[in-house]
């Protein structure tokens, strides 16, 4: 198997290089066949990387331990879905997964953009940029970090997966996150193509907006699933630890969020053209940086960097890509003038600017805090830890301001807001927030930060509901449809706008979940003999010793608990034979819409029903809102991207668009 996979990778590397050269040369010498051959080469790269990936998957599934990667990351005892998940659990395999998804996305782009149109002029450069990234990845995979390295004497069984990865989350979180980081390559390729061709108006944004939205939702879900996984598996009662690996995956998503907002300034008003190009570049750089950090361990310490074979290559690639992009950018900068002026600070334009300022401010704060230990170590040889308190204090207020802006911005008109407009749009939501806060106060919410957080969420909720209600009412009056039908067709006919509101609602759910769980978490620890109980926030947890089961390759110790006298709850420790130093946690979780009872088995003394057990018990309010928000986020993005309405719209605008093109050219 090893030679077959290796040949596919090296072949893909060669063809990717060919595609770069022939695409660019084809444009330069105006040879259509040459550019077309570049596209065919890109298709072939997709085929070869797919073949390499299938080879690795087959090697895993037949337990071919003559491959070092298969031996290191799987074992015979593992179930088949986990064996296949081992594909992306190690460095080499996850880089192959990254390259594979990139090749699939490249093929999708080639397929979707095959018809003639204004975007065709971008395609040679898009192919070239995507293949530059692909060539770099296949260079790593073929020559530096190969998943197809052979072992001279194949062992009888493999080491198996890291214990932390034995969780349903493992089957979905890493592939989503890696694909999310990868997929920013596509809008970046269109941005570079716009710079290279000099066609700097809205065409590149019109084509790449959907790809950016797809990248955004994949990476967003990857992050939320990561939080969900951490919450279920790591057993410290939280879901986000501001760990470097989490931070580097969050940053490109935040910059991407800024991008999908600020491109509206260019689409509607012809403003921020240079800024949008810069944003998508930064999102791409941070994605590559994120992949690199996740896979090399550089941020643990400068010294880990030296140990990682791929580190210097990633850094060189990043430097070359940043240098090349900046050179193109400054070369075209004189042509990136704004078409319009800003009329008023009370306008949609100004709120987009503040939105971007806040997003970039948060990203900078996270970036600075993430790399600061490295800076301090390199500059002053001092050891500095930057833990969650820094990120909460710095990013927290900025995130709160963003949520507030989420209520104000969408209701601001373009160009200039009048006094009547402001009164008409904001009186009801503000009144709603005040009433809601009074209710919360009566329910016992006293913490000032909670009051601010929930107040802002309520205000934004009011503005969004008001939009839906007004739209549906107006449609009901205009067409006579009943209210529900009116709401449905309102969303269907303006899917971009109302899909956006649904995504904002998802953000509100996540925001409220974070505020609730950060401020109102309750925690206690107890060591309980059989029959003893501990009470926290109305839950009485009674211990009944432990229950130990031995499965193939793993020993599971469950604490036997009852909650409030009846319900059974079994938090567990799992000890894998191959990883005796690394016990993993299975949290005992009882989830309701308003709070989670979260029990961790910290230790035990004795055996069977007579054992004394130590527990860490948390009550986490509103955490399930975060996961619900994730589902709603996916739904809202699908509504935004739903193509039916866009197609009918294209029919309507087609003659105008053609006329406009004719007038300018």
């Amino acid at each position: 198997m090893a030679p077959l996979g290796q040949i596919c990778i090296v072949g893909a590397f060669g063809l990717a290089l060919y595609a770069i050269v022939s695409s660019i040369a084809g444009v330069r010498v105006r040879n259509r066949e040459l550019t077309a051959s570049g596209q065919y080469a890109a298709w072939a790269v997709t085929g070869l990387i797919t073949a390499a990936s299938v080879t690795l998957l087959v090697a895993l599934s037949v337990h071919d331990f003559s491959l070092r990667y298969v031996w290191e990351h799987s074992s015979r005892a593992m179930s088949m879905d986990l064996v296949l998940a081992a594909f992306y659990s190690g460095q080499q395999g996850s880089l192959l997964y990254w390259a594979w998804t990139l090749s699939i996305f490249s093929a999708i782009v080639l397929w979707q953009q095959r018809r003639p149109g204004p975007h065709r002029v971008f395609m040679p450069y898009v192919v070239a940029v995507l293949m530059v990234v692909e060539a770099f990845m296949t260079l790593l995979l073929g020559f530096i970090a190969s998943p197809f390295e052979a072992l001279p004497r194949p062992p009888a069984d493999g080491v198996g997966l890291n214990p932390l990865l034995y969780d349903p989350g493992m089957r979905i979180h890493p592939p989503m996150l890696l694909a999310g980081l990868m997929s920013w390559s596509v809008p970046f390729a269109f941005a570079i193509a716009a710079l290279a061709t000099g066609k700097l108006d809205n065409d590149w944004i019109a084509v790449s907006r959907r790809y950016a939205m797809v990248a955004w939702v994949i990476l967003g879900l990857g992050n939320i699933l990561g939080a969900w996984w951490a919450y279920h598996v790591l057993g410290w009662g939280g879901y986000w630890g501001w760990d470097p690996v989490e931070n580097v995956a969050l940053m490109p998503w935040l910059v991407g969020t800024a991008f999908i907002h600020s491109i509206q300034m260019q689409e509607r008003r012809g403003m921020l053209k240079a800024w949008n190009l810069a944003l998508i570049m930064v999102a791409f750089f941070l994605s590559i940086f994120g992949t690199f950090v996740v896979r090399s361990g550089i941020l643990a310490s400068v010294h880990a960097f030296a140990l990682s074979a791929i580190g210097p290559y990633f850094l060189t690639f990043l430097a070359l890509v940043i240098g090349g992009s900046l050179w193109l950018f400054f070369w075209r900068l004189p042509r990136l003038r704004s078409d319009n002026q800003l009329d008023s600070l009370l306008s949609r334009e100004a709120s987009f600017l503040i939105n971007n300022l806040l997003f970039l401010g948060i990203v900078f704060a996270i970036f600075w805090g993430t790399i600061y230990p490295l800076v301090a170590e390199a500059v002053a040889n001092a050891k500095v830890s930057v833990g969650p308190p820094y990120f909460k204090q710095v990013a927290g207020p900025l995130l709160g301001a963003l949520i507030l802006l989420m209520g104000i911005g969408p209701l601001m008109p373009w160009r200039r807001a009048s006094r009547e407009h402001l009164l008409n749009n904001f009186v009801t939501p503000v009144a709603g927030a005040v009433v809601g806060l009074a209710f919360l106060f009566a329910e016992g919410v006293r913490d000032p930060f909670a009051a601010i957080g929930f107040g802002v969420c309520l205000f934004v909720l009011g503005t969004i509901l008001q939009e839906f209600v007004r739209g549906a009412l107006a449609r009901h009056h205009a067409t006579g449809e009943n209210y529900l039908v009116a709401l449905g067709s309102l969303i269907r006919r303006n899917n971009r706008r109302y899909g956006g509101y649904i995504v904002h609602l998802a953000m509100l759910l996540i925001g409220a979940g974070v505020v609730g769980s950060q401020i109102y978490q309750q925690q206690t620890q107890a060591t309980l003999a059989p029959g003893e109980s501990v009470t926290l926030a109305g839950y009485t947890v009674t211990a009944h010793g432990i229950d130990t089961t031995t499965l193939p390759g793993v020993k599971v110790t469950e604490g036997v608990l009852s909650v409030n006298g009846s319900e059974d709850l079994r938090p567990a420790r799992q000890l894998f034979d191959n990883f005796p130093q690394q016990p993993s946690t299975r949290v005992g979780l009882r989830s309701t819409p308003f709070e989670d009872l979260y029990v961790v088995l910290a230790g035990w003394d004795g055996d069977g029903p007579t054992a004394k057990i130590s527990l860490a018990i948390f009550v986490n309010p509103l955490v399930s809102w975060i996961w619900t928000g994730g589902v709603l986020l996916l739904f809202g993005t699908i509504v935004t991207l739903w193509p039916a309405a866009a197609v009918s719209r294209r029919h309507v605008t087609a003659p105008i668009a053609r006329g406009a093109v004719g007038a300018t050219s």
Binding site: R269, G369, Y372, K383, S385, Y390, W414, T527, P583, T653
Partner: protein
């Protein structure tokens, strides 16, 4: 054998009061341990780390708290032996001050940049004429967006709502 059982029973009796007291102490230990970075693990606090060293540190915190020391006093002792790097919240002094100043400087620069951009936009020569030249386009875009379908719909909404 009965001797062993008796000894265990005695031990349990001795442990019982300390266990009861431990529950009150535990919250204090966690409060302090959450502010300390486990020196041998990646990104875990002393409160959450399963490592032996973190366990020892929690035991030290427990003894100190039981002896009546204040949280800050205990933290200072750890800083004394491990340096500022032991704290999860970087102190606002020395080299760690830089991490707090960075975002302030960054956001301040951003505000200045946006300010410059705003004033530049307000002074763009010819921008006003360009805006009027694009008059029909901008009236169409106002409020809703460039597609006539939605614009028309919104016009209708506005009329229906009498605004």
């Amino acid at each position: 054998m009965p001797g062993v059982v008796a000894a265990l029973g005695l031990l349990a009796l001795l442990l019982l009061p300390s266990l009861a007291r431990a529950d009150a102490l535990d919250d204090g230990v966690r409060r302090v341990a959450l502010q300390l970075q486990c020196p041998v693990c990646e990104g875990e606090t002393v409160a959450d780390s399963p490592s032996g060293l973190a366990g020892d540190m929690r035991a030290v915190i427990r003894t100190r708290l039981a002896a009546g020391e204040a949280d800050q006093q205990i933290l200072d002792e750890f800083v004394g032996s491990y340096g500022d790097g032991i704290l999860t919240e970087p102190p606002k002094r020395g080299i760690s001050l830089g991490v707090w100043l960075g975002p302030l400087v960054g956001v301040a620069l951003g505000v200045v940049l946006v300010g410059l951009l705003l004033s530049a936009w307000r002074r763009v020569p010819g921008a006003a004429t360009r805006a009027t030249a694009a008059g029909p386009v901008s009236t169409r875009t106002e409020g809703v967006g460039p597609d006539p379908d939605a614009a028309e719909e919104f016009h209708r909404f506005r009329e229906e709502l009498g605004r």
